[in-house]
Structures are given as C-alpha cells and as structure tokens.
Amino acid sequence: MTNPRTNWARTNRASTERAGHPSTTLGAKDYKSEIKPVWCPGCGHFGVLAALTKAFAYLGLPKDEVVTVSGIGCSSRIPAYIDGYGFHGVHGRALALAAGLKAARPDLTLVVTGGDGDGFSIGGNHFLHACRRNMDMTYIVMDNEVYGMTKGQASPTTQPDWSHSKLTPRGTGVPRFHPAAIALAAGASFIARGFAGSPNELVRLLVQALEHPGFALVQVLSPCQTFRPEQKAWKQAVHTIAEPAPADPSEAARLIQGDDGLALGVLYAQRAPVYQPRNQVEAELADIEAEFLL
C-alpha cells in the first residue's frame, strides 16, 4: 500500500484480493453509479472520481459501509456519482454533517468531498474544527481556485491579481488561503496534496488518507478547463516531494511554507487522539427518570 510504484490506475477486481485486505469481488467500476456527471469536458474532477473509486476497490471497502458526504459546488456532486450511500447537503456544511454521522455511526467509512469555496470560504469555520476534532474521515478538497458552479468567481485560493471575475474585476487583492498551512495549525493529523492529472499518485494518497485513523485532508489540484484554462500548465508544473512524510509539525510547517503550492505527496502525517463518543449503554431510561423523584 505504501509502495509508490504500485500501478494504482490498474486497480481492479484482482487487486483487491491482496493479503491483509478483505476479500471482495468489487472493482472500481462497481463503485460508480449510473448517473452522468454534470462536469464540463476535461474537468479535473473526473480524475478524482476515478481515483476515489479505485481507492475504494483497492481497500475492498463494502459499498454499503462507505458514505460520501458533500456540500455544494461542482465537486460536491460526487455522492450522486458513487454507487453507495451519500449525502449531498448544503453549501459549506459537509464536514459538520459528516461529524454527526461519524459520532452516531463509528462503523462507517466516511469520505467528504467538496471544493475550495465550499471548504475554505463558507465552510471555513467547520474546516478548522474538523481538523482539531480529528474524527476519522477523509476530506477531499478539489481545488481549482475558482467558483465553477456559479460561473467563475474568485475563491479563497485564487491569486489576488486574477481579474477575470465580474465580481472582482481588479482582482481580489487578498492573499490566498493556504489549506495545508491552516490545516496544520488547526491540528489536522494527515495532510496531503494530489493532482487530478496524476492518477496513480492520487489513488495512492487517497488510500493512505482512507487508512489514516483521524481527520485526513487531501487537497487535490483539479483544473477547471472552463474558467481557468491556464491550469492546464499544472500538468508540467507539479512535482513530487520526497518521502517519508514529516511527522513533526515544525518540520511539516517548514515544508508546507516553503513549497510552491504544486508539490504533491503527504505533507504531514502523525498519530493523534481520534475523537469518537463511546456509545456504550450503561443505564436504562428508568434509571434516569428516577433522578426526578423527590
């Protein structure tokens, strides 16, 4: 699983039979629903969807025990495209919804998907607290530095001088949100960056994130062909950082602050206490009611 040379793109039924993983006959395609994505041709999100289903297949996850939760936006449509349980909620609140689900149903594997606006703008506060709460879930943010669904406005990760939006014709003039740095400061225990155009690498990161006990952030650079065609250049610009991932936060901070935002790989991974209510029955309702008796 940690071998970077594994050909993740070829994950199929046979690959799930490897030792240490549940035996299953499911391949990546089995995790895809029949619903056709609304995404534009060439959208990076197709690559993320493919990588996610391959990661599920690799891990042999039972389809009915994986839940995909999302907010609003192009990438947040993913739950409908996965054949399994999902919740397509409202803008920015996916992490909160997932926290409640995980607290009530710790047995489930939770994947939260969304975009940069959903996760870092309207959902910014939930992002901070999901990092520090460290519940066991994987958060995939498909970052294309633009609001696609509302047709091309600046997002928190947009460059300050990007002036192609009618809302900010002179650019935002505001520094960019740095997801990895903020996640580290907020207490996330697993931080990675992937690229939708590097499928093998992305599957590998997603598998690691899914296997990480606690909150795992995977920021995926996912180009928007419609509003940010210049992002095609990411294909040549991304580069892989050296392994192993730092487990020391100050070392990770140096790595994260020093990179150009296009470095791929695990930026930080550390075991940390995972929050989960105990859910153990110790009393009956009658015992509670007896407290009221005078």
Binding site: D64, V69, A99, G100, R105, L108, N279, F292, L293, L294
Partner: protein
C-alpha cells in the same frame, strides 16, 4: 382559587443565594405535600447583578405565578429597582428584610408597615460558616406555614453533596430563621404521607421527553436559556449509549444532527432565537432530504440578541415561516413544564414517522422554572409505531428512497443496509434521489412532502382543551406555550364568576388542525392570548381562516409573564365597550 396558594419572592444580588433559597423552599413545600412552581429571574451579568426566585405552592397543581406575592424576602437591596415590575405586591404582602442590608428602597416605602425586620446576617454569623440565605429560608418557611422538618429534610437532600458539616450548619441557620416567626405548632416532626412527586425544570423535561421519544444523539452550541437542556442531556445520553457533541456553531449543530439522523439515530438540537435563525438553512435541508430531526427552541426576548435571560413568545413567526421555498414541517409548543416531556416525546415520534423536521417551542419561563408535579405518564401513541418506516431490500428491484406512496411517507434506509443505498439530497430530486430540475419531479416531491403531514391523523394531542361549552357566546381562550398557565387560572376565575369558559392550549401549531380547531371554537367568543407584541398566533390563525368571526387578540410583549388579572381586565374592558 388563588387563596389556597402561598407565594413568595426571594431577591438579592447575584451570588447572594436567592435561587438556592428558592429551591430549598420549593422542595420543602413539596415534602409538605404541595404542588409548586418556581421561576427565576436574573440580569445579563455572569456574576453579580441581580437575582430572584419566585415561588408559588399549594395543594393543587400550580399553573402560573398568580397576580401578586404574599411574601417578599429580600436578602439585600442591590439593584432591587430592576425587579420592581416583576414582583407585584399588595397591601397584604409581608416583607422580610435584614436591617444589616440597609433601608427599604424607595419603591417599597409604601409597604413600611408590613415589613418584618430580621437580622439575617447577624444570626448567620452566630454559626461558623453560617449563610444568611439559609436563615432567610427558615424565616420564609415559618412565614409560609411549612413544617420545620420538611425544610430540614429538603436542605439535607439538596446539600448532600457538600458534606455533613455544610448540612449541619445550614440546619442551624434554618432553625434560627424559623424561630423568628410564630409557628403555631407547625414544627412537628411528622410529615403527611404525600405521593412521591417529581421536581423538574422545563429544560430538563424537554431533555427527558426527547429521550423518551428515542433521541440518542444531540449536537448543539450553548445559548441562554437553552443551555440547560444540553447540560442535563450530556451525561445522561452518554449513560444511555448516545452522545452529545458540542458544535462550533449552530450551523454545525443542525447539520451534525442531520448527519447522525441520516445514520439512523434519532437526533435533536436545542437552541434559542438567534441560534434558530442560523439553523434555518439546515432545517430546510432536513425537510428536503426527508431526514427526521427535532429542534427545541427555548424562546427569549427578541429580536436579535434581545433579552437573553427573560421570556417571550415571539419566535412563532420564524418557526412557521423562516424556511425558504415551500417547506412543510412540524411546529409544536409545550404548554407547561411537565408538558415539555409529552411534547418532546410526541414531536420526536412525529418527526421520525413523518421523516421531517419538528421545531418545538419552549421559552425561558418554562425552561428555567422548576415545578413539583406528579410523574408524567407515557402517552398512548397508537398511530405512531416506534421507529421509522424502514425499507426492505427486494431482489431485482431498485430501491427508491423518495418513492411516491399513498400517504407520502417513503420507506427510509440507513448506511450499512445492503441493497438500499441512496443519496440524500437537498437538491430537488426524483423518486430515486437523483437530482432533477424537472417541473414534474419538483411538483410531485413538493406535494408529497406537504401531504404526508396534512394527511396524517394526529389524534387528540394537537391541543389541551379544558372547560365545557354551554351555548353561543361562551368564552373561548385560545393560547399556546407558557401563557397557558395564566390563561387556565383566568378561566377558572371566569367560571367561578358564572361565565362558561373554554381554554384551548394549542400543542401542534403546524400543520394546523383547522377543522378540529373550528369545531372546538364554534359559536364561542374567542380570544387569542399570547406573550408577544403583535399577536403572532392570532395573525397566523386568521391567515389560515381558522378563527370564528369577531375573534380578538390579547397580546403584549415580554419579558414579564402574563398574569391572570390582566387577561381578565382585557376581556372585561372589551365587554364594556361592546
């Protein structure tokens, strides 16, 4: 009717022990066989400021504070002016005051003749660690004709966690206070045999009702005056195998309970007005995705931050109309403290069965008051099977989560169940849950979500109806929430004066049981009584064409609770004009 009750207000600076003293007197009254009610009032300060406990007790259930107090016990006079409007006195009111706390404030100069001076501080100082509020408890108990044994037993029960020395000292102080007034032999040691009653606050009652209804997950953000619902629930949910998650804000808490309920666990949050505003988007998501949730809103004075520590019934409009789009949901209101148990229990079961959001309105007056009541019985809910209508996997057929059924209720599923997976969606969707912007799907799903509520037979719990109708022109007082108590007492006085009067306390406000309401008010002279500026229930009922011709509104803003006499005055004034 009011003659059989004792009433007492205990005031002081925050931290003086007024509320503890009130709790002790209330429990002593209960041990002497009384029913009772205690409300509390505080300013916005965390420590300091002003604090008051107001009690009323007697042999019959106490529905409201009445019109005035027979005893005012002042632990000190700090900020007393702030209470002036909350503690109406009469020429018969006895004032217990400590000369060590200073002169009577100007507001009470007229009552000089009724003031009984007791050296609370001096007496307390006679005992190491003695507290003057305990001396006051003794004096109040003697004044209210409570047996000394009842007070000592109550003190032992309430202070038992603080150690035997504290209880012993408190007992000494109580005895000293009790000796300051003639007792007419009431200090006998034997207490009457009384049924074992419950002491509970409205906020605790709401929590219990939710537990009875099956709630096992709560997420919430603290807010006055709803926080005690959460504080009571947190350790008890844990013991029952559930959990309470403190969210980062109300936006998170409402979405957390949608997530947990989607997971199959009945879920609830509790908040107050400003929090309810923040939750509206999430409540709409629960309605659209047909995820059962319960939202308890303990109302306070509004709008905006308003008066956080005091009561009002002014959130009805937002509870009914705050959601965007056509978003049918349940709105209920508890009628008294014990009724918080029933209303939350019922609301939870309704929400689970009908797969929608239920907003339950309580208020500060209910939530932070304590009542001595007979243990609330479990309601008979024959039309509400326990749990959700669950789907079963049928081999070879696709599960349709939002299937159009005869009663509008689609079989629900939960993650982990094989062959029944679906994506819950706030986007409009078709029967399978696939997002759809087609007019036909939108129309069908909107109608389904409306009809499942309006076609459901809710039975008789939609309202509490008291009093017989004898003929045309009889009075019918229609009310909701905590105003029900004052209305019941006003109605009792009207009946005693020979005027047949019916009271309808509406428990299920939406969907409105229009036909039942029309039948219950037919031919009556109707008044809608409530505690908000412009009569929110009155206007809602009028917009629903649910009131008979000539129905009138009596409403005024909070935070002072409605009193029976002002309801009677309003009716009398209107009758004089007719």
């Amino acid at each position: 009717m009011s003659d059989c009750y004792q009433s007492c207000a205990i005031t002081g600076s925050g931290g003086s022990g007024a509320v503890t003293a009130g709790m002790l007197v209330l429990e002593a009254a209960a041990r002497a066989g009384n029913h009772g009610l205690m409300t509390r009032s505080a300013g916005p300060q965390i420590r300091g400021g002003e604090s008051a406990a107001m009690l009323r007790f007697g042999p019959a259930p106490v529905t409201c504070m009445g019109d005035s107090f027979s005893i005012l016990a002042a632990l000190d006079w700090g900020n007393f002016a702030r209470f002036a409007g909350e503690i109406p006195l009469t020429a018969e009111t006895l004032i217990l005051a400590d000369p060590g706390a200073g002169k009577l404030p100007p507001e009470l100069e007229a009552y000089r003749a009724q003031t009984r001076w007791i050296n609370l501080r001096e007496l307390a100082d006679a005992l190491p660690g003695g507290r003057f509020n305990m001396v006051a408890v003794g004096a109040i108990a003697a004044c209210a004709a409570l047996p000394l044994k009842a007070v000592l037993d109550a003190a032992a029960a309430i202070l038992n966690t603080k150690g035997p020395e504290v209880t012993e000292t408190a007992h000494g102080c109580i005895r000293l206070g009790y000796q300051q007034l003639p007792t007419d032999g009431r200090s006998r040691s034997a207490l009457p045999e009384v049924p074992r009653r419950w002491s509970l606050s409205g906020n605790e009652a709401a929590g219990l009702g939710a537990l009875r209804g099956g709630v096992r997950f709560v997420a919430a953000y603290p807010i006055t005056p709803a926080t005690e619902v959460l504080e009571w629930l947190a350790p008890r949910l844990a013991r029952l195998g559930g959990a309470l998650l403190q969210a980062e804000d109300e936006l998170a808490s409402i979405n957390m309970i949608i997530g947990s309920s989607f997971g199959g666990v009945p879920s609830m949050t509790a908040t107050s007005g400003p929090g309810l505003s923040l939750m509206m988007e999430g409540i709409g998501l629960a309605v659209a995705s047909e995820t059962p949730i319960v939202v308890v809103n303990v109302m306070r004075g509004g709008p905006s931050t308003g008066i956080p520590t005091k009561s009002e019934q002014a959130d009805l409009n937002i509870a009914l109309h705050g959601l965007h789009g056509d978003a049918p949901h349940l709105v209920l209101a508890a009628l008294d403290i014990a009724d918080c148990v029933l209303t939350l229990h019922w609301a939870t079961r309704l929400a689970e069965h009908l797969q929608t959001a239920a907003i339950v309105l309580s208020d500060q007056l209910l939530g932070q008051s304590r009542s001595i009541v007979d243990p609330p019985e479990m309601p008979d809910l024959p039309n509400l099977p326990l749990g959700r209508r669950c789907a079963e996997a049928v081999p070879g057929s696709d599960y349709r989560r939002y299937q159009l059924t005869e009663d509008g209720i689609s079989p629900i599923s939960a993650p982990g169940l094989s062959g029944l997976s679906y994506t819950a969606d706030g986007l409009e969707h078709n029967e399978s849950g696939t997002p759809s912007s087609m007019a036909a799907d939108h129309g069908a799903q909107l109608a389904k979500r409306r009809d499942k509520l309006t076609h459901f037979d809710v039975g008789s719990l939609w309202a509490e109806i008291t009093g017989e109708m004898t003929g045309a022109g009889d009075l019918c007082l229609l009310t909701w929430g905590s105003s029900h108590g004052a209305v019941l007492e006003a109605a009792a006085r009207l009946r005693a004066s020979g005027r047949p009067t019916r009271v309808i306390g509406v428990r299920l406000i939406a969907p409105l049981q229009r036909e039942a309401l029309r039948a219950a008010t037919a031919g009556a002279s109707v008044w809608v009584v409530e505690l908000n500026q412009d009569g929110q229930l009155f206007h809602y009922l009028r917009s629903e064409a649910a009131l008979p011709e000539g129905a009138r509104s009596f409403s005024r803003s909070g935070p002072l609770p409605l009193r029976p006499a002002e309801i009677l005055d309003a009716i009398a004034a209107e009758s004089a004009d007719d």
